[in-house]
Amino acid sequence: MRSSNDKRGGWIARHKNGAWYTLVLIVVVAAVCGGVPAVAHYALTKPFKASDAALDEAVGGAQRALLFPDAGSFTEVSAPSIEGLNSVWQADTGDYVFDVQSDGYHGPVELMVGITADGAVAGVQVVSEDETDGIGSNALTDDYLGSFAEMAATGTLTVDEAASGEIHVDGVSGATFTSKAVVGCLNIAFEAYAQLGGN
């Protein structure tokens, strides 16, 4: 006597090459294969946020270490409320790293500005940008960003003609918007440094 299992297996074997069975099977499998990752993605929202935060910390930590290679550790400090200032980190040596952003040609240009405890620019690292390759990106090269090293972190910089109280710096020809974004980031960092008690 045939068992119910044999009858089920037999039914599938008899119908699995049929058009309707094939259609329903493909639709069901597509729904399952789409639904399971969707549900998993929703269920993993918190772990994904934690992993994104860990990634930001890892990337940011690497860039901070590039600015101050001698620092043993960095601690995030309370950032002054300044538009464009994302975060402030202080090294165990007393130096500061400011994560700042300013509008460039194609959106925000985010930079990491290192300022030493003595009040001088230690260096500038690019965190993210979407400027035009070969045009705006010319203002984000190591050469141009390196030209701000050892500059006193005080005053207001400008690529235009300097007004009273402003300091003129050279921009990059053909990359005015991006040059202004870089200078804008530096100004935000200088202002934050001043509010934290520097210069």
Partner: protein, 211 residues
């Protein structure tokens, strides 16, 4: 010009034998991950994803024909494999976000490489009775060999690219001519060396069997 059917048949057999050799399968599985296996860590992660995908592809190849007809077998098997690769990607993102970000698109590519090599080995997306036999042990060993290859390639790429071995700097290593093996083209050379070793092993085993 008409080809002699015996010659054509013999050539087809030789190509078929080549395409199902262990060396070919390991190269096919590991190739998509070569450019991204720039560190030991990245190589290990990609290799593990590849191994899991290959084993799941083996399992689906045997399960799917039981409930899917001839028309539905391939799309159902492909959808199931894609679902597994996506879920494995989620797991890597949670477990190691840095390497997940570094590998980007290469992670699912490595998974598909593992599944595709399994398709080649068994002669199709699903396995049928009377088709080319490919056991679970075969699938695991091929995946493990590809994992080992990517691990070695990642390690050598990292060593030759950074000039350090587990944190110890080796003077002149990064600037030496062998540093080419640390570039993507060099990774292909390393994979070719792996294929040579595997093929040599297969030839020895074949000669031993013939005796």
């Amino acid at each position: 010009m008409a080809f002699n059917p015996n010659v054509v048949a013999e050539q087809n057999d030789r190509i078929d034998e080549l395409a199902h050799s262990r060396a070919f399968l390991v190269v096919a599985a590991a190739c998509p991950g070569l450019a991204a296996a720039t560190t030991l860590h990245a190589g290990v992660v990609m290799g593990c994803v590849l191994l899991v995908s290959a084993v799941c592809a083996w399992a689906f190849a045997r399960l799917v024909p039981r409930f899917a007809g001839r028309l539905a077998e391939v799309p159902v098997a492909l959808m199931l494999n894609a679902c597994v690769i996506v879920l494995v990607g989620f797991a890597v993102r949670v477990a190691d976000p840095v390497v997940y970000e570094d590998l980007g698109m290469y992670l699912p590519l490595a998974g598909m490489g593992g599944a595709a090599s399994l398709f080649i080995a068994q002669g199709g997306v699903v396995s049928h009775v009377g088709g080319r036999a490919y056991s679970l042990l075969d699938a695991i060993s091929a995946g493990a060999l590809a994992l080992s290859s990517l691990t070695v390639i990642g390690f050598l790429t990292e060593v030759l690219g950074t000039g350090t071995v587990f944190g110890t700097a080796i003077p002149g290593l990064a600037g030496s001519p062998i540093a080419i093996f640390g570039k993507p083209a060099g990774s292909l050379l390393l994979l070719a060396l792996v294929a040579v070793v595997l093929q040599a092993g297969d030839n020895v085993a074949k000669k031993g069997g013939e005796r």
